[in-house]
Symmetry: C2
Subunit: 531 residues, 2 copies
């Protein structure tokens, strides 16, 4: 007799939906009612991981023989299926995450997800992600090639766009020619199951190896570490909490396996006095919208604002405080997020941050926490930079008021690596000397620097870097968003030296595989055939 | 009174040649006479590392304001100085390494080194290494930016081309805009000192920050680990032994610091029966030259040959054995290399490899070891794949004779990650089915795959990958040789989102910084201005 009842959700392994070998089960929560949802999901044992790895290893070899156009066809078909299933997906994600059905889930995140799959498909088809390079004089050609099975651990805050079987890491890994073993985020397993069903249908209809997409829901921490360091794994993409991410990194590092992390970030926003004198209302509005939109649950949420002491700053703070206090707090993703936010706010106030508004305990009838604004001065921050960079993930932010620009720069100099950093300044050039100083210290700390704009929008652009120095990520050279750059994480650089022409991959043959393919041929990037 | 006599060589820190704070001293050896050279070099304490880090941190900030053209000017000037000082450099390197003055040191490695500096300079000037990307619609621009001070640990086997203050990692780190802290290889400290003198002169004459190039000779292992994980360090480049490299990797990984390793590799060479029937003499000659040239002391030395049982293979083996036995063995780089080679050969023969020729103890009056050829069959290899992949660095190679192509592929399937893999086959297409099978399993194991050619030549080409899967290196996506790709290792990806035009780095402004600058503008790689 099975230790688990038959209504436990099935895992997708080696092309079939089958009963997991669970050690236990878990349930997700409806955050709008703070109540457990009925569907049970399995916590897999190593047996499932082993079966998935074995199947992924075989699929990886098969995929290497599949033309990129066919992989692109799969991604396109999957994107279409996601759009066709919009209502069911939005409903499931709403139930599990509390994020608004519209515009957020249905009109923003879902189209972003399908379009991201299509952008990855285009890059897969042209091969442009792989930086094909041809040196006819030396007789050497190179490009990035598939790396092997990719494990994707998705975060709680984007049930579609960063989903382990539909999001950015997934799209990048597949488009680079690798199978994916998705590990669902425990806060939205049903949404993930629905997506995996669509992905599996698309795999079958396109005729890709069936284990191209696999799904498990949860494992023990030890099995997670074993998974990312398994010899059969090519790489891992992880988005989530710092502590779990660094534990996985440590395991992967020991095994020499690449792991791409996107961890916590406080995303400092600098606002100069001149900017506040000039357009306080606009900036208050930008900031309040950015922090409270999605209840602050963005990787790039502006969790820290750096200001210079003065009347205009007091006025800004007062306005923001009023807006925070008077705005109904949004729903948080899960009870765990609410507890964690409450705890982080306590840590910050215990360290000496002044609580301007919010704080307290999470609500009990839904997952929610009061919009929270804290304040410290620059000297206080500098007395414990590590402590005051505690991330409060959610609808909270810390204002750091420096006595002058020099102290503000000193504060920035003590920041850890972050995903983003913003500077709002006066529209004319009269603050340029200060801004130059601020930019100079801020840029090395962040993956993306912005002017006059909040960081919460992450465009899917070739020029996007959703990355940054450690500990925001595990490596300063890679981005998790943006095509084609995000695909490079899942490629293996390979040179073909004196290889006979017929044995070269299509991407490196004299004849260009597609009209869009851009190759660095004898020092010039161009389309077209060699010669 | 100092614990060290005044004739101890000085370290180059913060722009001045000064006495180290040594805990002890060491001497290099003249391998041609197996005798200690007179000059004493210091083993620095942490005090020197701290001073170098402090100076490098400041230099890194200053370098960020230096136009790339000026950094390129430095690299060009340094290349000229190296060529002008050819005689002294070749003499020093010959004395410390035993490598031939001509053609090796003077006519091959030295010009390669200066040309590599010039190639890096060109890429620095144009900015082409930094993959500048402009998305005018989204208002986002990105490129790679300097990462911070780079520690370079050079290997023993290339006193110029991989030298920590002149070689590939150095050129790449500087061209990417970073200062370098060079750690000399203990087998050629005097050569390194001479190079650092030239580099320092060029730094001063060009007007770069004086700590752009610094040199220490040796540290304790603990201080080495502390150095690569220091918060002020941007990244580390290491070429050398696996054990020391993995220890440094572990320290750097824990601190979230990128480290690029180039470690051991046996560089399998597959030779099909058809190739041997057709051109045995050519292949014997290629192989013997490749292994015995430079006394086998190349990262890409063919340390393992995979053959299929049969008369033609016996004939090949017999011919190679004769050539090995009848060729005077070359000089090895140091007593340590000779001891290590002897030890590795013992490990392999103890495991059951047949010694066809060579083996024994190192010579005593010079650093040398008999040309060594060993043989095992495929089944033997498969009984202990890890053991039989023990690298015998030097003039030695292991022949693995498989019973058929299937077993040969199985042997390949059990190989660790390697820098290179070669396939020699019949000139016509009659072996194509077998070659396809062999290539398919070999390619994922290696960074560079070759046909009909030995792996020892490593061209400085845009299409070169001198890298490969772990444990040949620490990451499968990067190359240590080849411009511009090798520079990417020392860059930080940075997006500029809505940044005011005058604040953009020159590389990302509408106006192209040089006529050669290629940028991905709205999806097309091209030269010229935006718009």
């Amino acid at each position: 007799m099975s230790t688990v009842s038959t209504d436990v959700a099935r895992v997708l392994i080696a092309g079939s939906w089958r009963n997991a070998t669970p050690q236990s089960t878990f349930h997700s929560t409806d955050p709008n009612h703070n109540s457990e949802l009925p569907q049970a999901f399995p916590v897999s044992t190593w047996e499932d991981c082993e079966a998935a790895l074995e199947a992924a290893d075989k699929a990886a070899a098969e995929l290497r023989r599949v033309p990129p156009a066919k992989i692109a066809e799969f991604l396109y078909l999957y994107a279409d299926k996601i759009e066709a299933a919009k209502d069911a997906l939005v409903e499931a994600a709403y139930t599990e995450t509390g994020l608004a059905r519209s515009p957020r889930l249905g009109d923003v995140e879902l189209p972003r997800t399908s379009n991201q799959l299509r952008a990855a498909a285009d890059s897969c088809r042209s091969g442009n992600w792989a930086l094909p390079t041809i040196d006819t004089k030396a007789g050497i050609r190179s490009c990035y090639r598939p790396l092997g099975p990719v494990c994707v651990f998705g975060p709680n805050n984007f049930p579609f766009a960063f989903n382990s079987v539909a999001g950015g890491d997934f799209a990048a890994a597949i488009a680079a020619g690798n199978p994916v073993i998705g590990k669902a985020n425990s806060s939205h397993p049903e949404t993930t199951r629905l997506l995996a069903e669509l992905a599996h249908e698309a795999v079958v209809e396109t005729g890709l190896p069936e284990a191209t997409v696999q799904l498990i829901y949860r494992t023990s921490h030890a099995d997670g570490e074993r998974l990312v360091s398994d010899p059969r794994v090519g790489a891992t993409g992880y988005t989530g909490s710092r502590s779990a991410g660094l534990t996985l990194k440590s395991a992967a590092d020991r095994a020499g396996k690449p792991i791409y992390l996107e961890l916590s970030s406080v995303n400092p926003v600098v606002i100069t006095p001149g900017a506040l004198v000039e357009r306080n209302e606009t900036i208050v509005n930008d900031f309040v919208t950015s922090v409270l939109m999605g209840t602050g649950q963005f990787c790039t949420n502006p969790g820290m604002v750096l200001l210079v002491a003065g009347d205009e700053t007091e006025s800004f703070i007062s306005d923001v405080k009023d807006r925070f206090a008077s705005t109904q707090s949004g729903t948080l993703l899960s009870p765990a997020v609410a507890r964690s936010l409450s705890k982080s706010v306590s840590i910050l106030t215990d360290l000496g941050a002044d609580l301007l508004t919010g704080g307290g305990e999470p609500e009990s009838d839904r997952c929610a926490f009061a919009n929270t604004l804290m304040r410290i001065d620059g000297a206080k921050f500098l007395s414990d930079p590590e402590g005051f960079q505690t991330e409060a993930f959610g609808n909270a932010s810390v204002l750091v008021v420096a006595k002058d620009i020099a102290e503000l720069c000193d504060v920035i100099d003590h920041l850890e690596g972050n995903l983003t950093g913003c500077i709002y300044s006066k529209e004319d050039a009269s603050e340029e000397t200060d801004v130059e100083k601020i930019s100079f210290v801020l840029e090395p700390k962040v993956g993306r620097i912005l002017n006059d704009k909040m960081p919460t929008g992450v465009a899917v652009s070739a020029a996007m870097n959703h990355g940054g120095p450690y500990p925001a990520t595990g490596h300063p050279g890679f981005t998790a968003v943006g095509v084609p750059a995000s695909l490079l994480r899942f490629g293996k650089l390979t040179s073909f030296d004196n290889i006979r022409p017929t044995r070269l991959p299509a991407l490196l043959q004299d004849s260009a595989p597609t009209a869009e393919t851009m190759r660095l041929i004898d020092g010039q990037w161009r389309t077209g055939d060699v010669g």
